[in-house]
């Protein structure tokens, strides 16, 4: 029930926000070289499109992209909003789903980012990073509550 990393990727595939919640060594090279996250997030954006193309049981236009990538040590969870903004969470491999946390993060994005009159969404076709301290703080608190709830659940079992 641990979430290591959050990416927010805009509809053009640009990384507009990233937050780490655990020590860098938990996410290997991406922790050791944070600049790599810019590259890997756009690569993830491309593979999301590929996963729609590969749908074997629906027309690619009707299909939806991947929601979960299962790796040996991590799970990568992906949530796409109707406006095509993607929230990506990297968790440990035991975390099966993050739907409630995604909905909460989406609400925080709407409240702190979309309603902020000084946040520039797009400048000359280039998505602008989210530099809103209140949003960053709110995201940290949401994930901390998520971790605390997980510990409580684990303790109760």
């Amino acid at each position: 029930m641990t979430v290591h990393l959050l990416w927010i990727i805009n509809q053009s595939g640009q990384l507009i926000a990233k937050s780490s919640f655990t020590a860098p060594e938990n996410i290997g090279e991406l922790g050791a070289k944070p600049d790599l996250q810019l590259t890997m997030s756009s690569i993830l954006f491309s593979t999301y499109g590929m996963s729609q193309e590969l749908t074997p049981n629906a027309n690619p236009v009707d299909s939806a992209g991947m929601t979960l990538v299962e790796c040996e040590e991590h799970n990568i969870h992906i949530y796409e909003t109707p406006t095509l903004v993607k929230f990506v969470l990297v968790s440990d491999s035991r975390t099966r789903e993050c739907n409630a946390l995604f909905r909460e993060l989406h609400s925080l994005y709407v409240e702190y980012v979309m309603k902020n009159p000084f946040h520039i969404v797009d400048e000359g076709g280039i998505g602008q990073p989210i530099r809103i301290a209140a949003f960053t703080g709110a995201v940290k608190r949401a994930v901390d509550r998520y971790h605390a709830a997980g510990v409580l659940t684990a303790t109760r079992k």
């Binding site: 593979t47 629906a58 979960l68 299962e70 040996e72 040590e73």
Partner: protein
């Protein structure tokens, strides 16, 4: 449980085997290359997240299907597309049996098969053995 298709790639990235069952969408031109690029990319991303440097991709879940992945030490990669509710652990076990039994018996011991670029799987016993394995695991009926 529903099976859609399987792709096997060798270490050079050649698509050496393809088979489909309950698939309803048309096969697209260049699709095998797209699958190869897709699994290679996610495998690479997974290794970059890994603390040990050896941890790899297991499965990709979408609302419509699930792609299961495994790779051998010799560089053979398999991608199996199934319906979304097929257990990752079940398919990982099936992959182990596939490589240890079916692949080994019908390909490794086949004098006509070579581990080199462009060599396709043409032994019909492999496809038959594969389907028998899937039937024994209730993936096919």
């Amino acid at each position: 449980m529903t099976l859609y298709s399987i792709y096997i790639f060798n270490r050079y990235g050649d698509n050496i085997f393809y088979m489909q069952w309950n698939r309803t969408s048309a096969v697209q031109e260049g699709e095998a290359s797209l699958v190869a690029g897709f699994i290679y990319t996610l495998q690479h991303l997974s290794l970059q997240l890994s603390s040990t440097g050896t941890s790899g991709l297991r499965a990709v879940q979408t609302p419509f299907y699930k792609l299961h992945y495994a790779e051998t030490m010799t560089g053979y990669r398999v991608a199996l597309l199934t319906c979304r509710n097929v257990s990752t652990a079940l398919v990982q076990g099936i992959f182990i049996e596939m490589f240890r039994d079916v692949f080994h018996k019908t390909l490794t011991r086949d004098l006509n098969y070579r581990h080199k670029p462009g060599c396709m799987i043409t032994n019909p016993d492999f496809a038959e053995g594969l389907e028998a394995l899937f039937r024994s695991k209730q993936l096919l009926e």
